[in-house]
């Protein structure tokens, strides 16, 4: 297992280099640069000032030179400074990543804790009232975008009932307590979790229905095992495996999976930061974020593969 892990980790290095090279190339192909971003179309910008800006950000150098410089800085642990506001990229990403991990992590956790058991529940009761009701809910949860549910939730719980703040991660007029932070986190994470609950419920239901009709479950019943034993020892553990894949594939979402929710709730996370980076043609930030995202995806995949071995005794990596 350790050998396998090391091999996978080593393989991530060339993949990361390839990813950063491709992303750097793509940012070059995109029309406009940070100097174009700085021009307010409604105000004015002189050609001289634009040239000075491009020189300041090193955009007057060949693309390959800039890429090599960037890699050189990365190897020294320096992600550089944001073009658009001069802040250190590492600090900005760390701050925003922490906010995103909190929001999306809690939402995913709610999704797993609520969605998987509900999926098991309706999977075992196919075509029942609960199955139809919760399946209907899951369709709604999957198809309703966060900017709709978010606005509705804000209108009801923030503007009308005033139970929750309308956005932000803390109150601005006092030093926040843990309770304050939870208060700010609750509404956006619940809104975001709706999609996760619906998704995990659907997958779990589908997986349960597949397993429940499999030969080994039929055999277990034929052996005279009790229904509870069949369900919890044979059906559910085997049905969980595909769900683990789905949850594992959701791990990259932890980084930039909540653009709409972050926007509506003014939650300063990675999703909105990515939009800022793209719209500002902020290459250092864009590259830094892509590096983090690539790392999370690669490590997420490794983690998923390792989890298989834990959940499914048939899988061995030695």
């Amino acid at each position: 297992m350790l050998k396998y892990l090391l091999r996978r980790l080593l393989l991530t290095v060339p993949v990361l280099i390839a990813i950063t090279f491709i992303v750097f190339g793509l940012t070059e192909l995109a029309p406009g640069d940070v100097a174009d971003y700085f021009i307010s179309p409604e105000l004015q910008m002189s050609p001289e000032a634009l040239a000075a800006l491009r020189a300041r950000f090193g955009l007057d150098q060949p693309v390959l030179v800039r890429y090599v410089n960037w890699v050189g800085n990365i190897l020294q642990g320096d992600l550089g400074y944001r073009f658009t506001d001069g802040q250190p990229v590492g600090d900005v990403i760390a701050r925003r990543l922490s906010a995103s991990l909190t929001l999306i992590g809690v939402a995913m956790l709610i999704g797993v804790v609520v969605g998987v058991p509900l999926g098991v529940f309706i999977g075992l009761r196919q075509y029942s009232f609960w199955d139809f009701s919760l399946t209907g809910f899951s369709f709604l949860g999957i198809s309703m975008p966060a900017f709709v549910t978010g606005i509705i939730a804000l209108f009801i719980f923030s503007i009308q009932l005033r139970w929750f703040p309308s956005g932000g991660i803390r109150p601005v007029d006092r030093v926040p307590t843990l309770l304050d932070s939870l208060h700010h986190l609750m509404l956006p994470s619940l809104v975001l979790s709706l999609n996760y609950i619906a998704t995990y419920m659907r997958y779990t239901r589908f997986s349960i229905l597949e397993v429940i009709h499999s030969d080994y479950v039929r055999t277990a019943r034929a052996k005279g095992l009790g229904e509870r034993w069949v369900t919890w020892r044979h059906t559910v553990p085997n049905a969980i495996l595909p769900v683990v894949t789905v949850v594992g594939l959701s791990i990259p979402n932890l980084v930039v999976g909540a653009v709409f929710t972050e926007t509506i709730f003014s939650w300063p996370g990675m999703g909105t930061l990515y939009l800022e980076a793209v719209s500002g043609r902020d290459i250092p930030l864009l590259m830094g974020m892509n590096l983090v995202i690539a790392l999370v995806v690669l490590l997420g995949n490794i983690l998923t593969d390792l989890t298989y071995a834990v959940v499914d005794p048939r899988i061995r990596y030695d």
Binding site: D36, F38, I39, Q44, R56, S266
Partner: protein
């Protein structure tokens, strides 16, 4: 025992009675000061084309606009004058101003600030949005502690208008920061020092910036206990916070402002955007060299109806690029291009317009206001046989194409066009680095060029405005662009704000808003 209890009770009552009085002050105002077109979250001096409403709370320029941006008002400079040809300007400074840290403000700070703002190594945007070319400043010097001279290589009759954008930074605090590292300095968000009414208290990146009163403020200590600028991802989020009572001020689009204005709990601050929305034709496409085609676009679109219905009265039709009536000649000298689709059809036919052709109209606008307006324009033009397709691009993409003069036929856009900040460079060679070195629209108009040169050099304010009116007349009669309207922009504030003021100045002003008098009641 009862006696002791009585004393205790009296003490407690006294404490209760005194506590609110001590805590009251002017209260805490939380606003979304960087939402909307004038905002720029995390802006630092000289490094953004907007955000000046908030910056003016911390830093102060030598002069500023008055409340409705119609005249200049003294700030750190008491008075100013120039030599005859406006190449040497003298600014007399106030001698009673201190920075937030108690250090006195002197002429050395002005010299330091201007030199930094135009330093190519710092690569600020000051030279761009102010219009002051770095190489036109021959020297800036302190004559004494409270007198500054600025020497220019060419006449600049409107230099005081440029000084509106020059925030005065403290030399004593920033002298060790290298110009190239200016933008990356953490100083601006950790311990910034200015001469504005409020001083730094707490900055939480991406969340808010809180200020407290400047005890040295030369107009008097501000009433508010705290002024907080809360950051929002977009206007919708800010409006939701306003409606939930968490903030007391935000910019609002026209449709939102009209809805909130109907409620009793808000104060509405409308004002002219100072931005003209128009079609700019690319004359590199020969069809647009024909004045009949350009005029047909104006006759084909019922601009008045669009402003009254689609834009719900939040915009006013303009006759030329100037956004203010003071820049227009008498109406009798202007063609109002009243809606006349028959005339538009005839002009197009005479000019040989190919009605099977589809023209993309590029824009960077994404707001509902402009999208609705463009949909209406599309329908009106289709009615006379002109097929247009609006194409929205993000700002960097738009700019990367637009300013080269290539790959676009018509653009629907906006430009700030007021008396002090007129977009002369849109009409002259060298104004932008176009691929063919021609003016942006690909055509040079000798008569317009002459008017522009005269206006740029004119020192007399009245004659200068007269020249702007001449430019307007020329633009209008020749329909060199398709002038549409100028919009009203809105700020919405809670009713419990006292003496609060906001104005939609381009880029956020700056303008005199008497922030030291603001307070929150109740």
């Amino acid at each position: 025992m009862p006696k002791k209890l009585l004393v205790l009770l009296v003490v407690m009552l006294l404490l209760v009675a005194l506590a609110p009085a001590a805590a009251q002050g002017g209260g805490t105002l939380v606003g979304a000061f960087d939402v909307g077109p004038g905002g720029a979250p995390k802006a630092i001096p000289y490094f953004d084309t907007a955000g000046r409403t908030w910056l003016s709370k911390i830093w102060t320029p030598l002069v500023t606009w008055n409340a409705d941006i119609s005249e200049l008002e003294p700030q750190l400079a008491k008075e100013w004058s120039s030599n005859d040809d406006a190449t040497l300007w003298t600014f007399k400074l106030r001698d009673d101003v201190k920075f937030h840290d108690g250090e006195p403000f002197t002429a050395a700070d002005v010299v330091f600030s201007l030199k930094l703002a135009i330093n190519p190594e710092a690569a600020t945007q000051f030279t761009s949005f102010s219009g002051l070319a770095a190489d036109s400043v021959v020297d800036v010097r302190a004559v004494d502690d409270y007198t500054v001279e600025i020497e220019l290589s060419q006449p600049s009759p409107r230099l005081p208008y440029i000084m509106v954008f020059l925030w005065i930074l403290p030399e004593h605090a920033l002298k060790d920061v290298k110009p190239a590292e200016y933008q990356n300095s953490p100083w601006f968000f950790t311990n910034p020092v200015g001469t504005g009414p409020f001083m730094h208290d707490e900055y939480q990146a991406d969340q808010f910036w809180a200020l407290k009163p400047n005890p040295y403020y030369w107009k008097g200590v501000p009433k508010l206990n705290r002024l907080i600028n809360r950051y929002f991802a977009d206007e919708t989020a800010a409006i939701l916070a306003l409606e939930s009572g968490e903030i007391q001020f935000s910019y609002a689009s026209g449709d939102v402002a009209l809805r909130l204005a109907a409620e009793d709990k808000y104060q509405v601050f409308p004002g002219p955007s100072g931005v003209t929305n128009y079609f700019i034709f690319n004359y590199r496409d020969p069809i647009f060299k024909d004045v009949r085609v350009r005029q047909a676009f104006l006759y084909a679109i019922d601009r008045k109806a669009i402003t009254e219905t689609v834009l719900q009265g939040t915009a006013e039709v303009v006759p030329c690029i100037g956004a203010f009536p003071s820049m227009w000649p008498d109406a009798s000298e202007l063609n109002d291009y009243a809606y006349n689709p028959d005339l538009a059809r005839r002009l197009l036919q005479e000019a040989g317009w190919d009605s099977s052709r589809t023209v993309e109209i590029v824009t960077y606008y994404t707001s509902q206001f402009h999208l609705d307006a463009m949909a209406a324009q599309q329908a009106y033009l289709a009615d006379v046989g002109v097929n247009i397709t609006p194409l929205t691009q993000d700002v960097p993409t738009y700019n990367s194409y637009f300013y080269t003069g290539e790959n676009w036929a018509i653009s629907y856009r906006g430009v700030a066009a007021n008396v002090a900040n007129f977009p002369f460079n849109f009409y002259v060679k060298g104004g932008f680095e176009t691929s063919d070195q021609m003016p942006l629209m690909g055509e040079e108009f000798p008569e317009l060029n002459d008017l522009i040169q005269r206006a740029r050099a004119e020192k007399d304010a009245e004659k200068y405005v007269g020249l702007l009116q001449d430019i307007c007349r020329f633009q209008n009669q020749n329909a060199i662009e398709g002038y549409m309207w100028t919009a009203t922009r809105y700020g919405i504030a809670s009713k419990n704000l006292v003496d609060f003021y906001w104005f939609p100045g381009p880029g956020g002003g700056p303008y005199e808003d008497q922030a030291h008098l603001w307070s929150v009641s109740g």
